[in-house]
Subunit: 417 residues, 2 copies
Amino acid sequence: MKIITVTTLCISLLLSSQCLAFTNETNKNTTFDLSKYSQEDFDYLAIKDPTKLSAASKRALERNYHKNADWFGRFSTQTLQGDFSFEEGVTRRDPSKVLLIDGLYYTWYSKAVGPSYGFGTGDPDKKVFPWDKTEIWYATSKDGNTWKEQGLAVGRGAKDSFDDRSVFTPEVLAHNGQYYLVYQTIKAPYLNRTKNQVGMAYANSPHGPWTKLNKPILSPANNGVWLGEEDNRFLVKKQGDFDSHKVHDPTLMYYNNKFYLYYKGERFGEKTTAGGREIRWGVAIADKPEGPYVKSEFNPITQSGHELAIWHYQDGIAMISCKDGPEQGTMQFAKDGVNFEIMSYITNVPDAIATVTSLDGDKYPGAALQWGLSHKYVIPAGKQWFEGHNQITKFTFRPNRNKRQYESSMGKVKKQK
Amino acid sequence: MKIITVTTLCISLLLSSQCLAFTNETNKNTTFDLSKYSQEDFDYLAIKDPTKLSAASKRALERNYHKNADWFGRFSTQTLQGDFSFEEGVTRRDPSKVLLIDGLYYTWYSKAVGPSYGFGTGDPDKKVFPWDKTEIWYATSKDGNTWKEQGLAVGRGAKDSFDDRSVFTPEVLAHNGQYYLVYQTIKAPYLNRTKNQVGMAYANSPHGPWTKLNKPILSPANNGVWLGEEDNRFLVKKQGDFDSHKVHDPTLMYYNNKFYLYYKGERFGEKTTAGGREIRWGVAIADKPEGPYVKSEFNPITQSGHELAIWHYQDGIAMISCKDGPEQGTMQFAKDGVNFEIMSYITNVPDAIATVTSLDGDKYPGAALQWGLSHKYVIPAGKQWFEGHNQITKFTFRPNRNKRQYESSMGKVKKQK
């Protein structure tokens, strides 16, 4: 038996080392599992000899570029009419998802009047940014192009409440005959190091009246540590979690019989990273719309995305990410609502896009983006960006799917049959 | 020995199956090799619990987003003065790399005069596209901003030669006191199904005179098969190689003691794919500048990129890809000049960018892009794109590296020390 044992050990070691080598090579992409792909895959990607794959061809196979064509396309934006046309001195921004109720489209948004001055003016009452000192208003439209402002939905709270300075960036969910608004809140004073929270209000009609919950439904992590007393958010002893400083841009989805509250996190001591600002998203999940919301252990669930639009696609959750981060301009999909995989790269994603929930988004990946709302900055010449105003705009998305072939723009060539 | 053999076989099978399982799991990303990453990596990516990694966090680790920040940044473009300012009815496009010779910047480009009409006019002499019926001109500048057109460098060939219709999209290489121009060539008639080739001319001064090689240095693959006789490039029996229809945008680099001729391929029966048009790049390599050029077995070496800018970076080759394909807007790097890995995503890459070879591109990844040339379309209102003209523009690239923190644009906040 001694011989057997020794031989076994040798073989065991031999096989283990082969196994390890193979695994390492897989990681290094020097071996590549061709059996997962068909001749059709190779033909589609113009791979002549699959035993001589360039890094680009391996990547195309691994990332399914040739199978994800339906996810690709291009955006365009249009200005809107009625109360969403340009109004001097007024900011309207961060439109919520658009609900279609009894033949009328509804959206909620942040509204403020008057100029902004940035931090450090010395006057704590001066409006800092376009989203400072805003309240949540709503508007309706018959056609999605001409909008009529209907009035205030959710105002700021009384002095000393958690939302006494600004309520903004609303998102809406209609569920079981109730309407829920989730939104960012700031408590005065608004300084560089001020944290913020997420609040909620509910109503049984889109016209309100809205009842606020008396406390936030989401707060930043409490594990960042500032360095010194100066009002400077870049001076830190410890950065803490991805959402140690701010919880922004809440989006509430009813999914798998639970309430998924997606949100952007900003971190103590934000760095300039690959792709720009250090920005990530997380999700917090609850059994009831009012919470309690428990942050996912898998947070952060993105490593990018100043703003995300998030919508239901078939059995999962789709999203598109606008600026900031290495994955800006990607459309992604998560079967479980948490683990998002990149499906496509889009180079011109508008800011703050909001989808129209009545569109049949299941038809194909970009179908939920047929049209929607976004916002743009209007910055007077010679002014800094934060001195400008925002205006709500419309976007449309033209998928590459079923796109006419290139000849259509190439002159008077006879059309293909 | 029989016992030994059987035992060995069992263990062998056991280990093999474990090995296979492990490899499959690696491919599915359900296991993840944490040992490759440090606590610093996790902290940088705000990963609180490395045993609970979201798909996004795994991807960030695998793709090295947190280590590639130097590759990220943003472009801007500026109009130029002198002969590169707008000139009604004149197309100047496809600037070559900029050479600095005795204190003067040089560039070569495609030039044409008069309108374009698209395919299918019925008049074979009518200019089809902005790049049709062009010749290669050159211009110089003292400062890179004001350019003086110096005259024709390489004209079209005599009737019935391979370059009798158009010579365009030049690229230049200075090597051992000689100058080499490589460029696209079309032989009349210019129809939808017309193939094209790559030609070369050389001179011992940037002012010429230029001597053309009497035959092309690169031709399309010969294995696409048209369907029927109609002049329609989308009707095919067989698409063939990635470069079965056209070889475009040659870029000649001296690298590893050989001449690397990078080029864009277009394919019989081009499809609309993920990311837009079906466009890929290849490389052909020669021992001498005039060839013979042998196409790499690893072609295609990209699966994207209507135009690429390609330059030396440290010991390898860097490139950036503008529109078309799922990897449009990526900066990539290949240690071997062939296997390109994505280093960054850039959302606003100008068209047809050309680098300035005298810049010290080794300082950091984007240093070669400090400034350079590009082109833009100027399309009169109500006209189709091909009825417009091109104008050569300047670009600058601002890397995220050393970018001032976001506070710089946030108002009067006290600057960080």
